[in-house]
Symmetry: C2
């Protein structure tokens, strides 16, 4: 793109926007034109919000998710069941589980996943914190809810193999999210890996 | 979405990001998680770039496009043909024309379009500046290059009717971009409005 007609500070803004996930140079340029041309109030708001969020938000000392203050709202909620601990990859996964209303326990957010492509091994994820959290007396069941992707599977296997070696945690229940045909799916249009998984994990009834 | 588990400054950041064009709440949340979780350096860069661009970039006093300083690089380029003036809706349209390498004249950027839905009439676009620019001695040909959309057509018609009333400009050539079948198109897959336009504006050969 012959963007040498654009001013330098514009180019820098486009480059900064293009670092957002899934945003290429064309979209970044569209955002930049919008911010500078259509509504500068929105641009100021955005810059202020970023600075504000960076200043206020850090990781929960207990579950590791993003929060304002030291401990997040879920960890301090006395209505939650402290016997169940759900392990997820990211704060957005935590939010998805919350939105399903299927879980009333507590969380631990890995803030990453085992990824051989990115060179992230189990040690890089800092499982020590997860261990000390899982060892707590109150926790009776640990539910591994990593994503059903190559990386999520590798992460889950790393967690499970570490946990099964560990004496104290051995006595706790360890579970995985069920993997199978998704809600509303017709087999005709379901991918073969999902169908195969649903067969492997088929449940005996009656 | 039950996002009451998210901290307030996070929600504000999501709201600010959701004001970008074409960005809904889901995408905004993805951006926000990325900025706060994956790489905070990117978040700082983005905030700095916005502030920097807002401070440095304003409208060119001559052609109205976005630029650093008073007059943009195109308007100050002595290699451009000052007899031709191309009218476009936005700086991104200007960039598209530049990238086509089909035009070596100067520009005037409307920074808007006639839109009955948004209640923007010809008067709201401030055609006075366009007039004084078009009246300049050097300008011999005015090329209206608004988009071929309902709003772009209304804008072009408003410009043309004002120009034809105006004595001084009357003596200058007034042109529109050709509208017809796009490069690489097969008629079978071309929309009917385009084919109809190509028939209406068909050129006699030989």
């Amino acid at each position: 793109m012959s963007s040498d007609k654009n001013p330098d500070s514009f180019k820098e803004l486009v480059q900064a926007l293009a670092k957002l996930p899934g945003v290429g140079p064309k979209t970044a340029q569209r955002y930049a034109f919008y911010l500078l041309h259509v509504d500068r109030g929105i641009a100021e708001d955005l810059s202020d919000s970023i600075i504000d969020a960076l200043r206020k938000i850090s990781n929960c000392q207990k579950c590791n998710t993003l929060c304002e203050g030291k401990v997040c709202k879920i960890c301090t909620d006395i209505g939650r069941d402290p016997t169940k601990l759900c392990i997820v990859e990211s704060p957005s996964d935590l939010l998805a589980v919350e939105q399903s209303n299927a879980f009333d326990g507590l969380y631990f957010v890995l803030m990453g996943k085992v990824s051989f492509i990115d060179g992230v091994g189990p040690k890089d994820l800092g499982f020590e914190r997860l261990f000390s959290r899982a060892e707590e007396e109150a926790v009776k069941e640990i539910i591994v809810a990593t994503n059903f992707t190559a990386e999520g599977e590798a992460t889950a296997q790393a967690i499970e193999s570490l946990f099964t070696q560990h004496l104290k945690i051995k006595k706790k229940k360890l579970a995985r999210l069920a993997r199978g045909v998704p809600y509303g799916a017709e087999l005709e249009y379901t991918d073969l890996g999902t169908i195969a998984q649903a067969f492997r994990e088929r449940k005996q009834e009656g």
